[in-house]
Subunit: 357 residues, 3 copies
Amino acid sequence: MPKRSLKPSLDWLLVLVPVAVVLEVVNGPELAIFLTSAAAILPLAGLIGRATEQLALHTGPRVGGLVNATFGNVTELIIAVFLLLEDEVAIVKASLTGSILGNLLLVLGVSFLAGGLRHEEQSYNAQSASVHASSLALAVTGLLMPALFALTTDTASFFQREVVSAAVAAVLIALYAAALVFTLVTHERLFRTPQEHEEPTWSRRRAVGMLLLATVVVALMSEFLVGSLEPAIESLGLSELFVGLILIPIIGNAAEHSSAVLFAMRNKVDITLEIAIGSSTQIALFVAPLLVFISLLVGHPMDFVFSTFEVAAVGLSTLLVTQIANDGRSNWLEGAQLIGAYLIMAASFFFVEHLAF
Amino acid sequence: MPKRSLKPSLDWLLVLVPVAVVLEVVNGPELAIFLTSAAAILPLAGLIGRATEQLALHTGPRVGGLVNATFGNVTELIIAVFLLLEDEVAIVKASLTGSILGNLLLVLGVSFLAGGLRHEEQSYNAQSASVHASSLALAVTGLLMPALFALTTDTASFFQREVVSAAVAAVLIALYAAALVFTLVTHERLFRTPQEHEEPTWSRRRAVGMLLLATVVVALMSEFLVGSLEPAIESLGLSELFVGLILIPIIGNAAEHSSAVLFAMRNKVDITLEIAIGSSTQIALFVAPLLVFISLLVGHPMDFVFSTFEVAAVGLSTLLVTQIANDGRSNWLEGAQLIGAYLIMAASFFFVEHLAF
Amino acid sequence: MPKRSLKPSLDWLLVLVPVAVVLEVVNGPELAIFLTSAAAILPLAGLIGRATEQLALHTGPRVGGLVNATFGNVTELIIAVFLLLEDEVAIVKASLTGSILGNLLLVLGVSFLAGGLRHEEQSYNAQSASVHASSLALAVTGLLMPALFALTTDTASFFQREVVSAAVAAVLIALYAAALVFTLVTHERLFRTPQEHEEPTWSRRRAVGMLLLATVVVALMSEFLVGSLEPAIESLGLSELFVGLILIPIIGNAAEHSSAVLFAMRNKVDITLEIAIGSSTQIALFVAPLLVFISLLVGHPMDFVFSTFEVAAVGLSTLLVTQIANDGRSNWLEGAQLIGAYLIMAASFFFVEHLAF
């Protein structure tokens, strides 16, 4: 299992946790609450990542893989739930898309670029990349078909949209589970990366405690963040789309992202791919579908109908990453191309206020 | 040439042939005629398949390949012609799409899953899969461009749509013929699968006789089927789209489908691919274009303009199958993913009544 | 660097240069001016190609590659600029699309077909083909995203469209430059084709002189061509779309195209790919984006928003070429399939007058 320990520590930002609490209690300015809680989430997400890995080292690779696969995007999930409670469905959807795009293009691109500047060519397990590519192609199918359903049948009732969304979400979650069984049980052999035996530095109790504690604090910070979102983005002059596509994915993933880049620089591209593409497929096949069901539970239903723009962006990213990663090798140009694709999308999204269809 | 002998025989269903005839003669209930004729086609299609193979064993691989390539989907072609005579153009188109999707996703998926549960990894001729993938990409081109033409020029006259359709259909048929020349003549060497010499068990005369007889009876059953279609689907509460996309492809292909799965379980995935993908490309590059010309002859013109939904579904299936099959290996997860994609499409189609554009 | 010397010489057409000049001076019939100037450009484009190669032989492979990459499509660029000066923006865009499609499908198709009829299978550097495929996928991203932006936000102001277009164009040019650095500097080793040392037959002075002279004469002919375009296409009964998609790409590329085919027949498919795919990526990542900026300079702004039809055609061609070229081998069937795809597109475009969206 990847060790995602982060060298350039963001831990000092933890000092913002009490600051955010005080600001909230004294009813401080919304913008200050927004910024401090957002910044406080960065090291907390990193902490969740570290605790997850330490726990995984205690449980052995199989259960550890399951733990990673379940808690890998827990920060994003928590923020999304609080957004749903405020009925910010469009922002949740944008944050899911943004997270997929950010991981596939920006994180992978910066990793390949940084790694490629140090190493002429880097290689990785093409078989593993191929499983990821199939999962991404499935994710695109899961995003495109309900969108087409909504586009072609403008008379679709709320009930019909929900049924289609729930069915598609259920299939995606089942396939996510199937992929886990494949990589952790039946074909685990193929995905074993030769790596030194690593000893856990935290006790099992400490790992579990940290995981719980960090999760609770992330939840608290997320509540502050979402509560101050509307006034904050108004005073900052940002569009909701920008917040969803760019800001929230960065807050939820920054720690993970820097790990991916560091591993690429150390020529361990397999771990980079596991983090970047693995995180994308986790969002697409697990977190996003799960939110469909959670949204029903919390009484603010979110369907699985994404906008054409979002579907096209995820589809293009998938094609690009598949084309680039299929040969099991990477270099700096491929990194630059992925970053370029991200910039092209960002430029094209820039003036869009709402993703109408 | 693949031997498609079907173990779990459906031959006992042949008893329904006289039942259907009697029901039709005595003007029995439409629903009963519909169900008996539909069920009677299942073993007849299997019989056509067996007769074709036996004939192929007599004629040698080259002519045999041509026979298979021409008669492989004759059941579907016959049903389609009777549907055209009733001017059920939308159902014909849906049945073509449904047949492609069913072969690419469901049949291949069940085969990979069933084969993968018995064998850790199965391998097949990647070169052959690659030729199929190019043919599928061509098929998508042939489906998408006329659809775009119709979408962008809403003023397109009937005449213009027919000319574009006929031109595209002619190109596709020419390319289908070219692929046959390639696999059976100029590059036959590459596609030869090492297999035990097989002796025909039927005489040439018997094979030809059976082929003719079964084809005539299929035609009769198809006439009954189509004649009772409208009242039957009304009393069953099915939508026309469901009938076209799901029911008719199953009726026409069930025998073939079970063969594909059986061959995968016996670890002969090359034959499975030949049946599943080969049948899809045959529909897309030969049967569907041929129906454009037949439809003109029978006076119920069918253009080659498919709905966005259909084009997208075939396009996604092609991407998925190409991604999965390009490495010449399969496993149970890939099977599950293909089935999952089929379920996602089925769920998204479920509430759609008409494929408007 | 490829030697693109053209065997079946078109040089005798140079005699049309003075004819076109005389016709223009004496105010001859527009149609005659159009035809003579168009025909005169064919050998001039070939001359530019030869001068570029000779110059490249003097400067060594690295600078030579840069010279080829910059002057490779100079004829098309010049014609485009004159078209912009006449505000024929739609024709310029169509000519860019047509040039990409023509290179990817027609030129590559004819080359693979002609080469494959002489050689059972031809092989080429798959690594090089893979870099091209990534560049093409990027090009599709660059075409699709601004088109989606324009489609989803019908309220987009002129200013917004220009900003998005300029940003996307800048990213594409930067990535084109990056790919040059990759292939000519940092990873030049990978792209070196083993080839006999070739001596320049022209002196450096003669090469530069020819390059300048031919460029100036091409500019003159282009001015005549564009000036007589409107009346000529009217009297010939052609649509503007046909002129842009088919005629202008042929005029600008004929010399290059015949070289590509000749190299394939001589079993030097690497050079064929370099010409055909290389020229396409050059148009998509360099010439087209450059024209966005040039169009602003000359006061007839052209945005980077292409029609759905054009984006889909380029996208499909990219998928097809990627699928076909990824294995580093070609045969006559693949050639026929590419030509078939071109014919399908041509048939679907045939009745379209304007590419509205």
